[in-house]
Symmetry: C2
Subunit: 128 residues, 2 copies
DNA sequence: AATCACGTATCATATGTTGTTACATGAAAC
DNA sequence: GTTTCATGTAACAACATATGATACGTGATT
C-alpha cells in the first residue's frame, strides 16, 4: 500500500504515515519502495511479530502521563514521593510491556477478521 | 502557609497553587482562610490520608499517555487492539491505584525527615 | 522526459498545560 | 471605617507538544 492509501484509511496524512512507518522500516518490519508501483510491504512473519516489537521500534515512548517528572530531583519531598511510587510504576510498566509481547500481529489479524465477518453478516441481515 | 509561600517552594505561582489546592479543600483535606493571617492548614490526620485520596480529590486524572484513545471506535482494527490490551491497562492502573492507597502522608513525612536529617548531617560535615 | 512514491526538512495549526493579570470577596489590624 | 492581606476565580497570555501541510529532493517505472 502507498502512504496515501494508508493515510485515507487512518484519516490522516501521508507524511504522518511515513514518519511513523520510518520506525518500522528501520526495524526491518516493513519495506518501502520508491517510484511507480512503490509503497509499503510487510517484511516479517505476523505470527512472530508482537506489539512489543512495534512499541520498541517506535522508540518505546512513555506509557505514563503521571509519575516521576524528574529523575533525580533536588527537592526532598519529591524524592520521598518518587521513592514511594517508583516500584509501583515500574511494575505497572513491566506488566503492560509483557502483555504487549504476548499479542502478535497474527492474533490481531485473526480477531479483526472475526469482527469483519460479523460486521458483514450484520450488514447483510440489515439490508434484507 | 499562604499560596505565595507554597508557590515559592514549588517554583510556581500562587494562582496555580490555589487551583490545585481547591480540589483538596473541596475534599476537606485542607482548609483555607482569607484575609490577614490567612492561608492553608491541613485538616486531616496525615496517618489516614493516602496518596490515593489525594489522587481522587484532584479528579483522578488519566495515568496513561498511551492506550485507548477512543472508547468505542468504529474502526475494527482499533477495536481489536483495544480488546487485546484493555485488561492489561486496567490491571496496571489498578496496581498503581492500590499502591497509592498504601502510602500515607505520614509515611511521606517520616521519609522526608529522614532525608532532611541526612542532608543536614552531610551539610555540617561539609562545612567543617 | 514525465509520472509516481518515498524521505525529510520546514512551517502551520490545534490542543492542553501552565503562568499571569485583574478584580471581587472576606478577614484582621490600625 | 479604611487599609492591608489573602483567597476565589475569570480571563488572557505564554509555552510545549502533537499533528497536519507544504515544499523539494531522490530514486524507480513508464
Amino acid at each position: 500500500m502507498t502512504s496515501e492509501e494508508l493515510a485515507v484509511h487512518m484519516h490522516t496524512n501521508p507524511v504522518v504515515v511515513r514518519r511513523t512507518m520510518a520506525g518500522l522500516r528501520d526495524a526491518g518490519f516493513v519495506q518501502s519502495e520508491k517510484g511507480y508501483g512503490g509503497g509499503w510491504v510487510i517484511a516479517r512473519d505476523l505470527g512472530t511479530l508482537t506489539l512489543r516489537d512495534i512499541y520498541n521500534a517506535l522508540g518505546s515512548p512513555e506509557f505514563f502521563a503521571l509519575g516521576n517528572r524528574t529523575e533525580n530531583p533536588a527537592c526532598l519531598v519529591e524524592q520521598s514521593v518518587n521513592h514511594a511510587l517508583d516500584s509501583a510504576f515500574h511494575e505497572a510498566e513491566t506488566l503492560i510491556i509483557e502483555r504487549l509481547g504476548k499479542v502478535s500481529l497474527a492474533d490481531l489479524a485473526a480477531d479483526f477478521h472475526r469482527r469483519f465477518d460479523a460486521y458483514k453478516k450484520e450488514k447483510i441481515s440489515h439490508d434484507l
